[in-house]
C-alpha cells in the first residue's frame, strides 16, 4: 500500500513537472521597486528601480516607458513609447539586472501626444491620458516583442493619501477608550451620589 502511494505521488509529480514548460525558468519577468509610483504634488519625475530576469544573457537591454503593452494590437515603439525614456544598459551573463528609470507624471517629455497620469489629473488639451502605463524590458532590439516584459504601473499622489490604520489596532484602542470613559463616568456618578 505504501509503495502504491509512493508510486502515485511520484506519478502526479512527474505529470506536474512535464506540464510545466521547459523554458519556464527563463521566462522574462520584470518588476518595479515601487508600484503604485508615489509622486508629491507638483513632482513630474520619480526615479524607480526596475528589476528584470530571463533576458538573453549578454544581450543589450532596452528599458522604455510605454502607453501600451507589447502584445497590444498595432504596438509601435516609435509612437507608443516615450522617445526620451529609453535606456539601454548592457546585458549581463545571467540575463538579470536592474536600473533606475525616471517615471514621468504628465505629458511624455519626448513630445508624444500622450502621458501617464494619476487618476485625478487633468491631461492638457491634445494629450491622451493614461492612468496605467508600462515599463517595458526587452533585449537585442527595441522591436523584440517576444522577449518583452511589460510591467503595468499606476501613479498616486503621495501627499494626498492618508494611511489606513489597521483594524487590529483601532478596535482595541477604541474599546479601551470607551471602557476607561465608562469607568470614570461611573466613578464620578458614585462620588456625586
Amino acid at each position: 500500500m505504501r509503495v502504491r502511494s509512493l508510486v502515485a505521488v511520484l506519478g502526479v509529480g512527474m505529470i506536474l513537472a512535464l506540464a510545466t514548460p521547459l523554458g519556464a525558468g527563463a521566462q522574462a519577468t520584470a518588476s518595479l521597486s515601487q508600484n503604485p509610483v508615489p509622486f508629491a504634488p507638483g513632482q513630474t519625475i520619480q526615479p524607480v528601480t526596475v528589476n528584470w530576469s530571463g533576458q538573453t544573457p549578454n544581450s543589450l537591454i532596452y528599458v522604455d516607458i510605454c502607453k501600451k503593452q507589447s502584445t497590444a494590437p498595432g504596438f509601435e515603439p516609435g509612437q507608443d513609447c516615450g522617445p526620451l525614456s529609453s535606456l539601454t544598459p548592457n546585458g549581463t551573463p545571467t540575463g538579470a539586472g536592474s536600473i533606475s528609470v525616471d517615471i514621468f507624471r504628465g505629458p511624455d517629455p519626448g513630445e508624444q501626444p500622450w502621458g501617464c497620469f494619476a487618476p485625478g489629473d487633468q491631461a492638457p488639451a491634445g494629450i491622451e491620458k493614461f492612468t496605467t502605463c508600462y515599463v517595458r524590458v526587452t533585449n537585442g532590439s527595441l522591436f523584440n516583442n517576444s522577449a518583452a516584459s511589460d510591467v503595468p504601473f499606476t501613479i498616486v499622489e503621495s501627499g494626498g493619501v492618508i494611511p489606513e490604520a489597521p483594524v487590529a489596532i483601532l478596535l482595541p484602542t477604541l474599546g479601551a477608550v470607551v471602557a476607561l470613559g465608562g469607568f470614570f463616568f461611573l466613578r464620578r456618578r458614585a462620588a456625586l451620589a
Binding site: L60, G78, C81, P83, L84, L87, T88, N90, P109
Partner: protein
C-alpha cells in the same frame, strides 16, 4: 457686369491660389516658389554612414507623399507628371510633383560634402559640422558617441581625459583605466577619417584619433587588401580582423573604439558583441544625450548648397528659401519638409498617418532623437551657416 465678372474671377483665382499655396508662375498647377516645377526630378544625396539609414527612410517617406494627381496615360508625353487640373483637396505640403530622393552608399560626411560642393551630389548627409561657407547645415537629430569595448572586457567608466591619453598614446595599459593587473596593452582603434563620427570624436578628445598607436583592421590577413582604419559604426570589421602586423588589432578584448550611439542601439548586426561604457560617470541614453549630460553628444545634419536651401536672417520660421525649380528647387522643398513641425505635414500615402508621425517612428527605428525644443531654430531643425 464685366467688372463684377472680373472681381468674381479674381476672387476665384485667389481662392485657388490660396488652396495650392503660392501663385503658379511656372504654369500648370504647380505652385511656384516651392521647388515644384512639374518635373519628377531625381535628386541624389551622399555622405555620412551614420545618417544613411535614417535618410533612406526619410527619402522613402518623402517619395510616398500624396502630392499631385499624376497623368498616368502611357501614351502621354506628361506621363507621371501632375495633371493640369488638380482637385481642391490635393496635398501641397510634401513633394507635390513627386520628385525622387535617393541616397548613395556611405563614403563619410566629409566626402559627401565634397561631392555636394563639386556638384556630383545634390545634398549631403553629415554627422559633423563642417566649415564650408557655401553650405547650409540643417541639424535634424541628436546622437551621442558611445565608447565601446568587446564584451570579453567588463565595461566600466572611462573619462574624456583618459580617452585623450589613450589616443595620444600616453596611456597604454588597461591597468591605468580599470585598476587591473598590468599587462593588457590598450589597442585603440582608429576610424575612416572622412567620417563625421571621426571628426566629432577628434574634437571632443582634442587629439588625433588615428595616431601612432591607433590600430587598423585587416579583413583578409595575408590577402591583397591592405589593413585600414575601419568604417565607422561597424564592429563586424573588428571581430573579423586578422592580425597581420603591429598596426592591426591583435587582441579584441584589449581594444577600445567609439560608435554612434544611435547606430549602436538600433542595429545589433553592426553592434555585435560591443558593449558601451559610461563616460565621466554618465550612461549614454536618450535623455542624457538630449540634455547634454552625457559628455559626447552631437547634432546630425542634412546639408544643402546655400544657393539651393537657406533660411531668412531672422530664425523662427520653418520656411526654407532658395531655389524654386529643378533639382535645386527639389532639394529646397525636401529640406523644408524634413524640418517642418507637426502641424505642417501631410499624410503618408500608404498608412494615412501624418508624415511627422511616420518620421518619428523612423527616428526610433534608427536610434536617434529629435532636437530638444530649446535647440530648434527653424521648425524642428537647428540651422547653421558656417
Amino acid at each position: 457686369m464685366k467688372f463684377k465678372t472680373l472681381i468674381a474671377g479674381a476672387v476665384a483665382a485667389a481662392t485657388l491660389v490660396g488652396a495650392a499655396g503660392v501663385a503658379g508662375a511656372d504654369g500648370g498647377p504647380a505652385p511656384s516658389g516651392t521647388g515644384w516645377d512639374g518635373v519628377n526630378d531625381l535628386v541624389v544625396g551622399a555622405g555620412s554612414d551614420t545618417t544613411y539609414r535614417f535618410m533612406q527612410e526619410a527619402e522613402l517617406l518623402y517619395n510616398q507623399s500624396q502630392g499631385c494627381e499624376t497623368d498616368n496615360s502611357s501614351s502621354s508625353p506628361n506621363l507621371g507628371k501632375c495633371k493640369p487640373i488638380q482637385p481642391t483637396t490635393v496635398q501641397v505640403n510634401g513633394n507635390f510633383d513627386h520628385d525622387r530622393m535617393t541616397g548613395k552608399y556611405p563614403t563619410g560626411s566629409g566626402a559627401g560634402r565634397a561631392e555636394l560642393t563639386a556638384g556630383t551630389a545634390d545634398y549631403a548627409r553629415s554627422s559633423s559640422l563642417g566649415s564650408e561657407t557655401t553650405l547650409t547645415y540643417f541639424a535634424f537629430a541628436k546622437d551621442g558617441i558611445a565608447i565601446v569595448t568587446n564584451n570579453g572586457r567588463t565595461p566600466g567608466n572611462i573619462t574624456l581625459t583618459q580617452l585623450t591619453g589613450i589616443y595620444n598614446c600616453s596611456i597604454t595599459d588597461w591597468s591605468a583605466i580599470t585598476g587591473e593587473a598590468p599587462g593588457n596593452t590598450i589597442e585603440p582603434i582608429g576610424m575612416n577619417p572622412s567620417s563625421g563620427t571621426y571628426a566629432t570624436f577628434k574634437s571632443k578628445i582634442g587629439t588625433e584619433p588615428n595616431s601612432a598607436c591607433a590600430k587598423k583592421v585587416d579583413l583578409d590577413g595575408p590577402g591583397p587588401a591592405a589593413a585600414f582604419f575601419p568604417q565607422e559604426n561597424d564592429w563586424k570589421q573588428v571581430e573579423n580582423s586578422v592580425n597581420s602586423g603591429p598596426d592591426v588589432v591583435a587582441n579584441i578584448n584589449n581594444t577600445v573604439w567609439w560608435f554612434s550611439y544611435g547606430e549602436f542601439r538600433a542595429w545589433s548586426y553592426k553592434r555585435r558583441n560591443a558593449v558601451a561604457w559610461t563616460v565621466n560617470g554618465v550612461s549614454p541614453g536618450s535623455a542624457t544625450i538630449s540634455n547634454d549630460t552625457y559628455p559626447i553628444s552631437r547634432l546630425l545634419y542634412h546639408v544643402a548648397k546655400r544657393a539651393d536651401a537657406d533660411v531668412a536672417a531672422v530664425p523662427g520660421t520653418e520656411n526654407v528659401i532658395g531655389a524654386t525649380s529643378g533639382k535645386a528647387g527639389a532639394v529646397r522643398e525636401f529640406t523644408e519638409w524634413l524640418c517642418k513641425a507637426q502641424g505642417s505635414h501631410g499624410l503618408n500615402d500608404f498608412t494615412g498617418n501624418s508624415q511627422y508621425i511616420e518620421l518619428g517612428n523612423r527616428y526610433t527605428l534608427t536610434g536617434f532623437i529629435r532636437l530638444p525644443v530649446a535647440q530648434r531654430t527653424n521648425g524642428i531643425c537647428a540651422v547653421t551657416k558656417p
